[in-house]
Amino acid sequence: MIQGEAPVATDCQTIQEILTEHGGELERLDGAESQHLEVCPDCREAAAAERALRLIFARAIPPTDPVVEERVLAALRPVRIRRRIVAFLPVAASFLVALVGAVMVGGVPGSGILGLLPEFSTQGWMAFATSVSDWGTAVATGARAAATTLDPALLAGAGLVSIFGLVGVVVTALRWRRVSLWREDR
């Protein structure tokens, strides 16, 4: 409701909507709206009521509960472990693809490798390291032999599978690293 002869740029509802939105803060009103307020007791009353209402709601919100934050962060830990395991699956799958490709290119190398898996001794680990080294040599030798005997298309396909798998290992490992690097502070 407007009293007096002040210029009215806007109506009461518009003013009161603004006051409602800003908790009765008069600073939010522009020149014309402030002029309106000066001559409109209803809007002034609404502004005061909005300020009081804002205080009531501010008091109605319970204080911060530090227990909730602790509980949330504690609850995230098992989820993080699960997520890390799930994120590792593509790495393992890519590695498998790369291995299948390598095997297709070079045949199954180092047939005795499984038999040389480390026993609980230094000698066992040394034998394992040697066999891994032999395995690399065998792959290279096998690849050279395969190149002369296998269908070139098959060989190329196997090579692509292997490369695809290796790229997959790199990409998924980077993603996995991102997931696994969950630090409290850095």
Binding site: Q16, E69, L73, L76, V79, W182, E184
Partner: protein, 194 residues
């Protein structure tokens, strides 16, 4: 991430990025930033402070689990509140299925549901002015559902009008109008306390 004045001012979206990079401190800041308002909002929604704490925790865990699917073109706040809101609504539905309301006969012979107040669970139980708490509880519960939701999001969730518009998928003008009307009801009902 060490919490400093600077880091606490980082935008939600930046904190989400840091969280995705494995920074627990960043997600901790998001939790700290929203847990009070989220719990207050859920308390009013489900009418039980302890349950609201549990739902709030669940909402954060779900948000964290789905963080990679969060679309940064939306606001983190509205996304988080939507998760919490859905959890709250599910809880209300489940509770309705599990409980049988008690009724008493009023003076006109009609049936009125008996509400047994539990002060320990009352989300407004911390208010020293019990008369105000009671009046506020009644007026909020008595609001039309479409107004009530907006009032809870605004005053307990602390969302801006734009965030509420995004959350409810209503035009901003409609949100303004509805909240204006809701406030008219609130002001009238709470006259003695204003």
């Amino acid at each position: 991430m060490a919490v400093t004045g600077k880091t606490t001012q980082l935008a939600d979206e930046r904190l989400v990025e840091l969280s995705l990079d494995g920074d627990e401190g960043a997600f901790g800041l998001l939790v700290r930033r929203y847990q009070r308002r989220l719990t207050a909002f859920l308390s009013q929604l489900v009418g039980d402070t302890e349950l609201a704490r549990e739902l709030s925790q669940e909402a954060f865990v779900r948000a964290w689990s789905a963080l990679e699917r969060f679309d940064p073109k939306y606001r983190f706040s509205t996304w988080l509140f939507r998760i919490a809101h859905n959890l709250g609504i599910d809880q209300l539905r489940r509770r309705r299925l599990q409980t049988t309301p008690l009724y008493r006969t009023d003076s006109d012979g009609g049936e009125v549901e008996v509400v047994v107040p539990d002060l320990d669970k009352d989300p407004l139980g911390h208010l020293e002015n019990r008369a105000l708490a009671l009046e506020l509880r009644q007026v909020i519960d008595g609001l039309r559902p479409e107004y009530r939701e907006l009032v809870l999001l605004r005053h307990f969730g602390g969302l801006s009008y734009q965030e509420i518009a995004d959350f409810t998928e209503m035009p901003l003008g409609t949100v303004k109008n509805k909240l204006f009307r809701a406030h008219s009801v609130l002001r009238k009902a709470l006259t003695d306390f204003l």
